[in-house]
Amino acid sequence: MTRGLWIALATLALLPFASHSQFVANLAMLTAISAALGQAWNIAGGFGGLTSFGHVAFFGLGAYADAILQTRYGFTPWLGLPAAALLGGGVGWLMGLATFRAGLRGSYFALVTLAFAEAFRILANSIGITGGGSGILVKLHTSAGNFQFADRRAGYAAALALLALATFAARRLAVGRFGAYLMAVRENEDAARALGVRAVRVKSAALALSGALTALGGVLYVQSYLYIDPPTAFSVERSVEMLLVAMIGGAGTVAGPLLGALAVHAIADTTRSLVATPGVAPMLYGVVLLLIIGFLPGGIARFVTRPAHA
């Protein structure tokens, strides 16, 4: 059953390459980025139970790292990838140490991440190196060396690569020792510590991993749209979307964010083709989130895969 699901997902992922439509490729790319970001959120929020409301902080940091390195210092945008991952990971690690040492959990952690994202947005809006409110424009010059592609399918391939990386990381969590420790801390921190689990370190590491992957998503965004400004880089909506994708698909499962991204984009694109009014699709996500919390806490993954516990 699970195996069949993965084959179906892989086939679905390859289909857009067969099409010459840039529209289809673009749609596929956006879905893959959503899934990758959702998976990144899932590593902290699902496996670790670290409900973040401000994950966009890492996305924005990655985006700005990439944009600043190439426009201000003339580095190749490929350098943006390791730089963003390091920055996202480092900030995630420090944010984790600071908040978890202070004993923040649950709702307090969610709110503090939101405050971090907001602080970063205001900072990006007011300092010189980020271009302030007018943002940073990356010069259009498509070439592989410049990490810009005329064909959207190449952009889609990059998004798929990130998704594969994030899913590989989630898979490792699901089977390995670090992931087991992370889930143990989520379920019962005191009991985990009594068995030698360094809870603060495990949670901080999960946030660092999640932050690094999220920051890579920011790089892909900049390389696709060649523009970043504070409201886009640090939008609350993107934080919420990452959470929604993971929660709707099934938080704490490997396949969840992939299914969630498909569901969210199916809702969005169907709604947009029926009603032009902005706001209708996100409103539906909110309703779906409420329904999932109320009636299907395991998310869609519960339908598709065999429940872990018979």
């Binding site: 889930m183 143990a184 985990a192 009594a194 068995l195 030698g196 360094r198 872990a308 516990h309 018979a310």
Partner: protein, 243 residues
């Protein structure tokens, strides 16, 4: 192996633990008994790093471990169970035990194998792949024990693992704890089930109202007038002597 001196802890105006001394020699089984509210659980929590004592020292193999976080104490080889069981409710029973196994066994297949073997040995075989939340009270007690054992502690702290078990289950657990000692672990336990204390302990410490009021072999404790009168009440001495 474990040396506790002058351990004290107050909560607000209540002196929960008043300067207790306690020794657990390597290879021994030591019991800490006393009525509810005597301060046993607080003492345990302070020894295992979950509560910071106001004063006193706790030495593990000669090293003072006061102020160490619980995880560091566990890594040093002292592992505790909880009186109020603390399962990882969303994980399966096997996964629960595996968390303990990972302490000494970083390879996941080996840890899984160890966890399943231990679980089966403790009578949780039929439950291994079910969520821990589905266990009965007795099942949860066994899971506490299995998880702690999987961590291969040199010093095992058992906080009332027999409470809520049937007499048969108590006998099984007594045999099991003996087996653990047979494998070289040292054990400190708190217990209300006197039958288990008498059967297991080499040495018994008695607490009442936060203070240590007596110590000795189970037989000595059973006839100790202070214990009988100040704490156990009439008839209790006979119960202990009967085993």
């Amino acid at each position: 192996m474990l040396e506790v001196r002058g351990l004290s802890r107050r909560f607000g105006g209540v002196r929960a633990v008043r300067g207790i001394d306690l020794d657990v020699p390597a290879g021994a089984i030591v019991a800490l008994i006393g009525p509810n509210g005597a301060g046993k659980t607080t003492s345990f929590a302070a020894i295992a790093g979950f509560v910071r004592p106001d004063s006193g020292s706790v030495r593990l193999d000669g090293t003072d471990i006061i102020g160490w976080p619980p995880e560091r104490i566990a890594l040093a080889g002292m592992v505790r169970t909880f009186q109020i069981t603390q399962p990882f409710a969303g994980l399966t029973v096997a996964e629960n035990i595996r968390i303990g196994a990972f302490l000494r066994e970083s390879h996941r297949n080996a840890a899984t194998r160890l966890a399943r073997e231990l679980g089966t040995e403790l009578g949780l075989g039929a439950w291994l792949d079910r969520p821990a939340a589905a266990l009965t009270v007795a099942g949860r007690k066994r899971l506490e024990l299995a998880r702690a054992l999987a961590a291969r502690p040199r010093l095992l702290l058992l906080d009332e693992v027999m409470a809520g078990l049937t007499p048969t289950e108590v006998n099984e657990t007594v045999a099991l704890v003996r087996g653990v000692r047979g494998r070289g672990a040292t054990i400190l336990l708190t217990e209300h089930v006197m039958q288990a204390v008498t059967a297991l302990a080499d040495r018994v410490y008695v607490m009442a109202e936060g203070a240590m009021i007596a110590q000795g072999t189970p037989r000595e404790i059973a006839v100790d007038q202070r214990v009988v009168e100040a704490y156990l009440g009439k008839g209790a001495a006979a119960r202990i002597a009967d085993g």
